[in-house]
Symmetry: C2
Subunit: 271 residues, 2 copies
Amino acid sequence: MTTKRPTVGVFDSGFGGLTVLRALLQQLPNADFIYLGDTAHLPYGSKSQAMVTRYTDAAIRFLVEQGAELVVIACNTASALALPSLKTNAPVPLVGVIGPGAEAAAAIAPAGSTALVLATEGTVASHAYAQACTEKGLKTVEKACPLFVPLVEEGWTDNSITAQIAEVYLREAIPDAANPPEVIVLGCTHYPLLHALIERIASDIAGPIPVVDSAAATARHTAELLPSATTDAGEPHLRFFATDAASKFQRFAPRFLGREIGHVELADLES
Amino acid sequence: MTTKRPTVGVFDSGFGGLTVLRALLQQLPNADFIYLGDTAHLPYGSKSQAMVTRYTDAAIRFLVEQGAELVVIACNTASALALPSLKTNAPVPLVGVIGPGAEAAAAIAPAGSTALVLATEGTVASHAYAQACTEKGLKTVEKACPLFVPLVEEGWTDNSITAQIAEVYLREAIPDAANPPEVIVLGCTHYPLLHALIERIASDIAGPIPVVDSAAATARHTAELLPSATTDAGEPHLRFFATDAASKFQRFAPRFLGREIGHVELADLES
């Protein structure tokens, strides 16, 4: 007997959450997806909790109207600032990326050791990762890296200037190379595009340190919450929405998703 | 006889327009000012014309409600993308920064020579500077510099990494050092904080090139449009509004305005 394919909403401030959608597509081949990038308001990293919560709330409502039965908040800043207050009254289950990020770190680093979390200003100021890592038995150092998002959006993911900027941030975050963190958590969905570079610079500073992100753990957590898998193994149905500049979204998307995307629809959350 | 002090509204996507307010305060000592930074939606540089026009329209209405008799659009992206369509039906006179920027260039560079305009992606894509410079008899090369705004907001206005990034942008914009532009126009209100650095790097590449911005010319143009100056030479009355994160606005402002500012009020343009 074939059951209905579940529809999962995926929300991010822009393109970055496509790195999470990529992991979801791998682990949930029998689900359909609706992705919404709030490109009219990005970046969230420097905005207040009140504003990020307002935008995230509007995005969840939109995705549910479009048929989402569960919404993945694939944005670390929104997961940190908006998810705690929104999950109580949400019309569908919500999955954030902070808990799964801490889980990915705890799977590698022994209890009592230290995770270095690289994230936006908003995520760092919320200390949401520190709290999630404490729950997993890890200590935390949090470091805001505000230039990483614009560097990724400029396409400078592996050049000498980006390497120097990463070195500035990592040296500030690892003041004692003899006592490095046991794991580095990429606490922003843009940062997986800098994975190799961050791993290399960290190794130059303090020897090899494993680097993890939230994508795979978030996808696993989502799979657990969904109704039992269907036997309908057709191609997943994907819809993409952006709140502004849909053509730019379409151009950037392959860099994050690893494949071309079709038509991007414009979503108006403000009217 | 003392006439009423005029009230001038100044609008920008964030803090950058404070470099224009600084020039206005110098040239219009007998006016009062209301400044609005749309920090909830910044940066405008990568947003579409429709979205920038919607935000700018709401900002003008807000400033007029607060008593502004003239509004300076102290944001190059908004001047480029929104001003042409909004000025026809605006309730008060509007002054942009693109025309004055081209005027400042033409005051230095001889007719027929080339101005290099450094600006955001949105401003460059609009070719508003090319059009304004053509009207002043100048040729134009436009170059988008998307990393400059986040670098200024990170406070990295004079370090070696910013210098290298400026060198990448300027070498791309000046492919033939033997035929450099006659003037460089800073076509974004954040860029005056990089004035010294850009001047130095350009000189290293192609010899001394004068660097100008819109602030002083915009203030002159505003003074011409205002009712005759009053004899009331008291201290100007200043009010500051931001649409989000007012405390961050207060912290950043002195870097752009050259002085501390008082209370920043939160303005809600969306409800």
